[in-house]
Amino acid sequence: MKRFLSPLIAMAAVGLLLVGCTTTAAPRGSAPVSGGTLVYATGDAEPTCLDPHVGGNYPQALVATQYLESLVSKNKAGDIIPWLATKWTESANGLSWDFTLRKNVKFTDGTPLNAEAVAANVAHLQDPATGSSTGYLALQKVTGVTVVNDLTARFTLSTPDSALLDSLSQPWLAIESAKALKRSQAVNCESPVGTGPFIVTKWVHQQSISLVRNDKYNSPPADAAHTGPAYLKAIQWRFLPDSASRYAALQSGTVDVIDNAQPDTLVAAKKTKDLVAIDAPRPGASNRIELNSSIAPFDDKRVREAFIRSADVNDAITSLFFGTAKRSYSALSSVEKLGISEPKLFTYDQKAAAKLLDEAGWTQRNSDGYRVKDGKVLELNFPVSTNQSIPAEQSLFEQLQATTKQAGFKVDLHPLDLSSWYGALGANQYNLVSAPYTKVGPDVLRILYDSDGTKPAPSGYFANHSQVKDPALDALLVRAGETSDQKERASLYKQAQDIILGGYYILPLYDQQNHYLLRSTVKGVRAMPTVSTPTMYDAWLSR
């Protein structure tokens, strides 16, 4: 239930640096053993379709990482590395890309990986009938794919897209067997066919997905620890939504790996030798509270700053996350190379807040100690999505509610189920909101802060919750998205972030938490440097 809608739209961007990501490297001397079944318990929602082309959310990415592969991947340093594509070249005008495919790679249905397959996949992603949202939007600038020769596919673009490689590195744009894609969507959803190290054999809804090793596997990414087939004989992918029972299951050894580990369990895990933690923050935006600048009182910058100054985030994080989450002062995830951090803008300072409010005209206080201005109480409506904010985060909001009260803010927390939450956003009746957002690269800023992002889709959904409408910012973001000159790009994004942070549109909290816990008998598991999903290719069981 956690945050499966977060990566609704994911677009490309440059390098990604896995700060906390540690692979549980096998101790020297102990060689990997082949065989065994690994049980993975996920707390994320169960996918409605195992083909990440359809829709395209994080739960799909998690499991698809085991049986699907993308054209390119990334290394820890955040640089694009070969995977199914061995090399690629961008044309001078940036309007066409040639990808050379790896030789004699076969899909698990026996069909070969070739340019037709790539073309078919792009076509599949762009076909409205597929109902792809993530992949579809990632390929917005791609007009088509032409077959140059059997192993060379040419992408043609409408405008230059500096984010294309990052887009293609994501599991939502993984390459599947063209033959398999021709089957009905229902069938393809049950048993998608890729080139990955494992094969989906059975999916018992609401219970588990069974995966077995692909013995013919030969296409690991360049940064994999070994070559050839995976060590594990099989994976059982269980759905355990309840975090407490998930952790208990791990403790008792009923399962080997869990995701969405809660802060307290991480601390507990540290104390035992049986468990190992992997911290793999998701790319894209940091977790932050967005201040709706389109309506009073946050249409006044001073009030926005006052709120931010009066919110004691650090204490809250210490109390709730036990040091498993690091305070962020950035609009972007700490894994984003181009993210800039501005701690001084977000220091906790009640005095400053009070001063700002006085300047803004919120001088009186009512009997409850809330600020009042010409009869109106300084009241803030804060719809909280119980689906997208983990309990610790909801508690954090409660604590901010308490600290900002000192400054005279009256924060009304409204825990809502997803549809009501979207309703509240669509009605533009909120002053504060927190919506996690996974996507690779700083281009996320364009989604989140471009004026276009304030126009609701038919369903009422829109991404720019802060409702920043700044032509200068828009211009910066568009240019950044098109230039492939890294220097220029960096500076453009820096200016953009200065506007966003300096305008007090957001209150950054911490990276999008993404913690895995493993039994120490499980070796070699690592999170993909792309969107931090764990891959079991190198994993083996020492028991």
Binding site: L8, P128, R238, P241, L418, Y422, P458, Y461
Partner: protein, 324 residues
């Protein structure tokens, strides 16, 4: 329930049972129809566009075309009465529709999960009955002291919420003692804690009822008569008291069924046990209307079957009903 049956002793089995059975079946059909109708019109009260729900709820950015397609696919564009008739028609042939969230026929989803729940419920029922009987027997022999103690035990057991019991059991047997798995794994070991969680409160209720009727029976003239005939305590308990305890217990069966299903919702969720209880909860959380309706109807059917069977059992155990 009990309809007048020819009291004449010589009336044939057919004449005694047939009309009763027919009436019961009629009742079952009627109730199922009513349940289906209630649910059908109830879900029309759900705010928001069902078509949107089908496509993954708000935020799914469903295009107008997709919405229209969904409406057509699910027949939502037809007039309500027509939809209702189609709905009934599909029900009649056992088609419960397509789950929004799982993209699977509801009947398959239920099929996959029903077994687990039934197993859980059945075992729990047996265990509960055993516990209750034990307490009842103890208070029948152990005298007023025992009776008082077991009555307190029963009240406590009956009042404990499933989730709290489950948590306590997990803390004790899994986290602390590490004897039993905290989530149900295939096999007997995984069944123990869920069964206990379901059985203990049920045992509380059953025990209260059974103990009272057993004690009443033990104090009744016919038991004195039996003793005067030379019957020993055992004989009195097994031959006389027990049957009298059975009647109210059987009467509770319908209720117990409900209690077990409701309990299953909690237990299956906490112990991550596959079953319709868990399916139902996730369906509720995701507003997966067809699945919710499907489960509701299946459970209603189950309830009707249980009550019919218990009625039958009642009439077998207690001839007084037949005479009426």
């Amino acid at each position: 329930m009990a309809l007048p049956v020819a009291a004449a002793p010589r009336s044939s089995v057919a004449r005694r049972w047939l009309p009763w059975l027919l009436l019961r079946l009629g009742g079952v059909v009627f109730v199922l129809w009513a349940v289906a109708t209630v649910t059908f019109f109830a879900i029309r009260l759900i705010p928001g566009d069902p078509a949107e729900a089908i496509l993954g709820g708000p935020g799914s950015q469903a295009s107008a075309a997709a919405l229209a397609k969904a409406r057509a696919d699910f027949g939502l564009d037809q007039p309500l009465p027509l939809q209702y008739l189609h709905y009934l028609g599909r029900l009649a042939v056992g088609d419960l529709g397509q789950s929004y969230a799982l993209r699977q026929p509801v009947i398959t989803v239920i099929g996959q999960n029903l077994g687990g729940t039934l197993l859980l419920a059945a075992v729990s029922l047996v265990v509960a009955a055993a516990i209750a009987l034990g307490l009842a027997a103890w208070s029948a022999w152990g005298g007023p002291g025992a009776s008082a103690v077991s009555s307190v035990l029963e009240v406590v057991a009956a009042a404990v919420p499933h989730f709290w019991l489950a948590i306590s059991l997990i803390l004790l047997f899994s986290t602390t003692l590490d004897w039993l798995p905290p989530v149900s794994i295939p096999g007997a070991a995984g069944l123990i804690l869920p069964v206990l969680t379901l059985a203990i409160p049920l045992a509380g209720f059953l025990g209260q009822v059974m103990r009272e009727s057993i004690l009443d029976a033990m104090a009744s003239p016919f038991v004195l008569a039996a003793r005067a005939r030379g019957e020993g305590s055992n004989g009195v308990f097994w031959r006389h008291a027990l049957r009298h305890a059975a009647i109210p217990a059987i009467g509770l069966a319908g209720w117990a069924f409900g209690a077990l299903i409701s309990g299953a919702v909690v237990v299956e969720t906490i112990f991550a046990r596959p079953g319709i209880g868990r399916s139902l909860l996730s369906a509720v959380q995701q507003r997966d209307v067809p699945l919710v309706v499907g489960v509701v109807i299946v459970v209603a059917l189950g309830y009707m079957l249980v009550t019919t069977l218990t009625d039958l059992a009642d009439r077998l155990v207690d001839p007084r009903l037949r005479a009426r």
